[in-house]
């Protein structure tokens, strides 16, 4: 997908961008039209562009106040998780790194559990999860730095310790409040919460900021793939790059988690699938991860709400159930694609 002259740098090709945009467009179309209430494609388009259409008020309401915000939210969350996953894998040079590596998930889980157990209104939930995630990662950084400054290994291990510690507290709180067990469990498995456009507007600034900072560092992530010593020897301020990229990815992930719960797997499989097809350059991996992460999560959410309709599957179950076989397929065919 990266058609580049042999003695030119790898660049994001127009074709790859078009394929990505087509994937998003297809996912958005399916996500907006498919559901218990059928909405015809042509009429939906007319309506969205302000022309008179035969949609009933109810259909129009479902389209603009229920489905579209949920599709957009899914796209934003999927995009951010994939982008953050790619960044973490780049900064830590660890293929298993995902956006939850430094304790974001455990921190958000604890924040959400405490809020739910304390009987807080649903409106407070995102703020509590967001705060928990940020506190957890800041604590991980502090612990990691106190152990050793020279390697990322100490940071990863600090993340493991912090995640276990916070999960222990979270499980304890959860067990002490059995009446809210089901609600906590549902949150942990992930669900795109929707009350119109509210969540979208809530997380948008964090995602735009996080995504922009990450994309601006695409060349730096390529340099970092040579490891800390060689990147430093090339004059790159490794610690600053790591702090900025991890900070941006964490902020975006925390915002995404706050409105979606813990959706696993997207941050791992999307960047890896892209990398398998396009190669190692982050100037290609990052933008394509953002695009295909969006399309993937929109489709996963569509599956989650239609398979057992009117009941809803947790989206985390769908991402893993769809994602794992898809990933194996990419692994098996990647050599032929390049």
């Amino acid at each position: 997908m990266s058609a580049t002259a042999p003695d030119r740098p790898t660049r994001l090709s127009a074709r790859a961008v078009l394929v990505g945009l087509a994937a998003i467009l297809g996912a958005v179309t399916l996500g907006s039209l498919v559901g218990p209430v059928h909405i015809p494609f042509g009429e939906a388009i007319k309506r969205l562009f302000g022309s008179p259409s035969s949609l009933t008020d109810r259909q129009a309401d479902i389209l603009t106040a229920v489905r579209l915000p949920r599709v957009v939210l899914g796209g934003l969350v999927g995009s951010m998780l994939a982008l953050a996953g790619a960044s973490y894998q780049g900064v830590f040079r660890n293929p298993l790194a995902d956006p939850y590596l430094l304790g974001v998930a455990a921190g958000a889980g604890l924040g959400a559990t405490v809020a739910i157990s304390a009987g807080a209104t649903p409106a407070v939930l995102p703020a509590a999860a967001f705060a928990g995630a940020i506190v957890a990662v800041v604590a991980t950084y502090a612990v990691g730095r106190s152990v050793g400054r020279r390697s990322t290994t100490s940071l990863i291990l600090a993340g493991v310790a912090m995640a276990s510690f916070l999960t222990a507290i979270q499980t304890y709180v959860q067990q002490r409040h059995t009446d809210t067990l089901r609600e906590v469990y549902a949150w942990i498995l992930g669900r795109l919460s929707t009350s119109g456009w509210h969540e979208v507007l809530l997380i948008l600034p964090y995602l735009v900021f996080g995504g922009t900072v990450i994309l601006l560092h695409r060349r730096m992530l390529d340099v970092l793939s040579l490891g800390e010593e060689e990147a430093s020897a090339l004059g790159v301020p490794v610690r600053r790059v790591r702090l900025l990229v991890v900070g941006a990815a964490t902020l975006g992930t925390a915002a995404a988690v706050a409105v979606s719960g813990l959706i696993g797997f997207v941050g791992i499989i999307v960047p890896h699938a892209i990398r398998l097809v396009t190669g190692a350059s982050y100037r290609v991996i990052l933008p394509l991860s953002a695009m295909f992460g969006a399309a993937f999560l929109i489709i996963a959410d569509l599956t989650a709400r239609t398979v057992l309709s009117p009941a809803e599957l947790p989206i985390g179950v769908v991402t893993a159930f769809l994602g794992a076989p898809f990933f194996v397929l990419v692994l098996r065919t990647a050599k032929g694609l390049r």
Partner: protein, 264 residues
């Protein structure tokens, strides 16, 4: 432009002294080999000169005090190649060589035409241009080493710091790569400081050798002078012989003391 001068360089890692007042000089265009047993401080010396290891002392190259320079400016003066460079297996050769341009590109900038043509010329001058579109994981050890040199060349630094540049190669490729380095330094007027394990190759390629032991310079001079059998035997803890190679150079041979198969 003046060469490299290192004065009273000291490095300590948590109370262990690794370099204890090292003085080294290399004239512009000179190839100086750093030899010494494992743990003598060869790699640390290269890293301290490049500033990736904290040190005290004075390092100057080309009239610049390297310690005062920001890291990118330092990287424009000196290129460092570690013993085992990281090779992301799915990275294209051209992208890899282009990373050598990093010190010339601003923090959030991207490569311009000049960077691309410099990387292209670097690959061409190592005869590796036809490998530009290959992946690093597809290269042999010798090919990768040449690509690494192309990256260092693309950096356009006048000082090359090479840590055991041929340790992973067979004899044929060792000679090939060292010959390339020799050609490059003459073509581009590069000063080369390389840590060397193979004393024979060090003697054949370096203008001058510095023998390092326990973080201190034992002796320094032309290869024939430094490669003195009793001296080398003493510092390497092994019996060695220095033989004439018949072409004006010397060959260093380790000798087994007892139990030699021929005597059984």
């Amino acid at each position: 432009m003046s060469g490299l001068s290192v004065g009273d360089l000291r490095v300590a890692f948590s109370n262990t002294t690794v370099l204890n007042g090292v003085n080294v000089a290399a004239a512009r265009g000179e190839w100086v080999g750093v030899i010494g047993p494992n743990g003598a401080g060869k790699s640390t010396l290269l890293r301290a000169i490049h500033g990736t290891v904290p040190s005290s002392g004075a390092v100057a190259f080309g009239g610049h005090d390297m310690g005062d320079l920001p890291s990118a400016a330092r990287a424009r003066l000196a290129a460092f190649v570690p013993q085992r460079p990281v090779a992301p297996y799915d990275m294209r050769v051209f992208d890899y060589v282009l990373l050598g341009r990093s010190p010339h590109i601003s923090y959030l900038g991207v490569e311009g035409h000049r960077d691309i043509s410099t990387a292209r010329n670097a690959l061409e001058s190592l005869g590796m241009l036809s490998f530009a579109d290959r992946l690093l994981g597809e290269l042999s050890g010798g090919e990768f080493q040449q690509v690494v040199l192309a990256r260092a060349l693309a950096q356009e630094a006048s000082l090359l710091l090479l840590d055991e540049p041929t340790s992973a190669l067979d004899i044929g490729h060792q000679l090939h790569v060292l010959t390339l380095i020799d050609r490059l330094r003459k073509e581009h007027d590069l000063t080369v400081l390389s840590a060397m394990h193979d004393l024979t190759l060090a003697a054949q390629f370096c203008d001058r050798l510095v023998l390092l032991s326990h973080g201190m310079v034992v002796t320094d001079g032309n290869p024939r002078h430094v490669l003195d059998a009793p001296l080398i035997s003493q510092h390497y803890g092994a019996t060695i012989r220095i033989l004439d190679d018949g072409l004006g150079g010397v060959v260093v041979v380790p000798v087994r003391q007892n139990g030699h198969p021929a005597n059984r």
